[in-house]
């Protein structure tokens, strides 16, 4: 009897030592501190209209088709805005994991645009502790809609150009919640009146709250510090990111008609309280251009 007890006791002690030594081996591996980078701060390269801190990864071609329908206050005759729509195509490419460039075309004012977007800092913990991510964005917009105040013989391309410069300061607070603050400088080569400023300053806030693994609620607000025109309003947008296998659908309501920074930040005139509410969506798809033979 005693023997039996001793036997089990020794097995118990032995197994304890055994598992203890294995844990020790795991500790040997653990002693090196690592740096973990925050990933997927935002699902998309855009919060709604506003740029997020994300860029397409290396060799990824991202194609976005965006629509904004007409205003809700257009009434029943226009099916509350659904009869009208404007479209934007957006192509961007990750040259490296931190540098991307893109081209776009919007039907509103027939604007062509090009941009560079690059990650300057990546939020991380561990060895390197960086509390936020920092992304830079520089864009140029060329308005090609015919302006009857300018004669056709005058190409006046220079007058139709505007620029946007942004610094995107983003933080992933938890795996579900991310917030960004974006200071913006807009420059318009020409403005309607000499009393208006060519340079516009704005500050934007964007936020993402994941509701489950595939759906998140997004919010953005673009606040004008200076105005191009006294009628300009701040734009507020709310929407959902819905992820399916290969596509991301962003559905939203916004008081901004434009989808580019020069328009939705600097030239917006819509007001939520007047019913200037646009329903819109972005559909995004990524293509892998360079196959790695290893896979």
């Amino acid at each position: 009897m005693l023997n039996k007890k001793l036997f089990f006791l020794s097995i118990f002690i032995f197994s304890f030592i055994f598992s203890f030594s294995q844990e020790n081996l795991l500790d040997l591996l653990n002693n090196k501190p690592k740096t973990t980078f925050a990933s997927s701060t935002f699902k998309e390269t855009k919060v709604i209209n506003l740029q997020s801190n994300e860029t397409p990864a290396k060799n990824q071609l991202q194609f976005i088709i965006s629509h904004r329908f007409g205003k809700l206050n257009d009434g029943a005759y226009q099916l509350w805005g659904l009869d009208n729509s404007q479209i934007r195509f957006h192509l961007s490419y990750g040259i490296t994991d931190w540098f991307s460039a893109g081209l776009g075309r919007s039907s509103n004012n027939k604007v062509y645009d090009g941009w560079a977007k690059y990650k300057l800092l990546k939020q991380s913990t561990g060895n390197k502790n960086i509390p936020f991510s920092l992304t830079g964005y520089n864009a140029i917009f060329i308005k090609t809609k015919k302006d009857f105040s300018i004669p056709d013989s005058c190409l006046c391309l220079n007058k139709k150009i505007s620029y946007a410069h942004q610094l995107i300061i983003a933080r992933k607070f938890s795996k579900k919640t991310s917030v960004e603050i974006v200071p913006t400088l807009l420059h318009y080569n020409s403005v309607d009146s000499s009393s208006y400023s060519n340079d516009i300053f704005a500050i934007s806030i964007g936020a993402r709250q994941k509701l489950n693994s595939s759906i998140s609620l997004n919010l953005e607000y673009n606040y004008l510090l200076t105005k191009k025109n006294p009628n300009n309003t701040n734009s507020l947008s709310i929407g959902f990111d819905i992820e399916t296998g290969g596509h991301i659908f962003q559905l939203h309501l916004t008081n901004a008609k434009g989808m580019i920074e020069s328009e939705f930040i600097g030239e917006n005139t819509g007001k939520w309280k007047n019913g200037d509410i646009y329903f819109g969506f972005n559909i995004s798809r990524q293509f892998n251009l360079k196959k790695n033979k290893k896979y």
Binding site: L26, L29, Y295
Partner: protein, 172 residues
């Protein structure tokens, strides 16, 4: 005491740059991911064998797959590592001083996505240039580790995932 510790240490072999890849094959698509920074320690005296795998270090053929893997399936923010601790069952019957491949049986506990499962796998050990080269292939099921695959992609991801381990351990 010190002497015994030193002897103990000489029995241990280690790497932080082991390779583990996994492969999922369905009629719709093949998915492969490679991790080349796997940590492992083997004690050739006792046969104790451990692995630590940083989930975010798995590289996929495209960034979207990698994002889905980390964000939706293995939830790397919550469960950053997968671990294995166990033992080479037949370690005593093996002499590791010859340059010959030796079949081994490893059994222990694997922990992925916060879920522990017992595991037993066959592998090969080889002693070469003062290094130990170890390799193994086995099958894991995402279902066993409570990794939920959404219905829209269920046909794209195999129910059984082939895992390949290839590591070179150096004396500590």
């Amino acid at each position: 005491m010190l002497n015994s510790l030193m002897i103990f240490a000489q029995n241990q072999y280690m790497t932080r740059s082991g390779q583990i890849d996994f492969f999922s094959s369905t009629p719709i698509e093949d998915i492969k991911a490679i991790n080349q920074s796997v940590g492992s320690v083997l004690d050739v005296k006792t046969g104790d064998f451990v692995f630590e795998v940083l989930m975010k270090s798995f590289q996929f053929k495209n960034a979207l797959m990698q994002e889905h893997f980390n964000e939706k399936y293995v939830e790397s923010d919550d469960y950053p590592t997968a671990t294995f601790y166990g033992k080479i069952q037949n370690i005593t019957s093996i002499s590791l001083n010859k340059d010959i491949e030796k079949p081994v049986i490893v059994s222990g506990t694997i922990k992925i996505h916060g879920v522990e499962q017992p595991i037993r796998a066959e592998g090969i050990l080889k002693f070469q240039n003062n290094q130990i080269i170890a390799s193994s292939s086995f099958i894991l099921k995402p279902d066993d580790f409570q990794i939920k695959i959404p219905s829209v992609v269920r046909k794209n991801i195999a129910k059984e995932i082939i895992i390949n381990v290839n590591i070179k351990l150096n004396p500590m």
